[in-house]
């Protein structure tokens, strides 16, 4: 059972790493923050699987922290002042 859990965790990790590499090469900042969000959700899933597979329940707390920080990162992105060039175009 544990080896199956490790297999699934590495599959999700490979999926998300591949997605991140492709998305981070795009120019738009929104795509990048979405990639960070993807890493947040996927990272939580990987950490939960590892917590069960290694029977180390504190890893669940790490997953909680990751979920929290992914949300904070996006809030910081949205609250960031708009690009001045873009604002000038609109005015």
């Amino acid at each position: 059972m544990d080896s199956f859990l490790f297999l699934i965790a590495s599959f999700i990790l490979a999926t998300i790493a591949g997605g991140l590499i492709i998305i981070l090469r795009r120019p738009a900042e929104v795509d990048r923050i979405m990639a960070a969000q993807l890493l947040g959700t996927g990272g939580v899933a990987i950490l939960l699987i590892l917590a069960i597979a290694t029977k180390a329940s504190p890893i669940v707390d790490v997953a909680l922290m990751l979920a929290l920080f992914a949300a904070f990162a996006t809030v910081a992105f949205v609250r960031d002042a708009p690009d001045p060039q873009n604002t000038a175009q609109r005015q």
Partner: protein, 100 residues
């Protein structure tokens, strides 16, 4: 008792596989969809379903009720933050234009 454990293990294998496939689908959608709002759609819905399936699959393997309850709590937090974050990103796209 042995048969019960086998059934629970089988349940875990099925749900975790489905969850991993949902993660794959979400990532492919995020890469392939044409504009930011549809990509947001792929990111926040499909991945949360994947995480939900992973959590449901892990509950039979968790140590006792407290461990299972904690897994569900983590999932609920991710759901809540995912819903809020989607609205925030969509608002930012609307305000600053899709190419930001």
């Amino acid at each position: 008792m042995k048969r019960m454990e086998f059934a629970l293990d089988l349940f875990t294998v099925f749900t975790l596989t489905a969850g991993a496939l949902f993660f794959l689908a979400g990532t492919v959608g995020l890469i392939r969809f044409p504009d930011p709002l549809t990509r947001l759609h792929a990111l926040t819905k499909v991945d949360n379903v994947g995480l939900g399936l992973v959590v449901v699959g892990l509950i039979p393997q968790a140590d006792g009720w407290v461990g299972a309850f904690k897994l569900v709590i983590v999932w609920l937090l991710v759901q809540l933050s995912g819903a809020i974050v989607t609205q925030l990103i969509a608002g930012a796209i609307r305000e600053r234009g899709p190419s930001v």
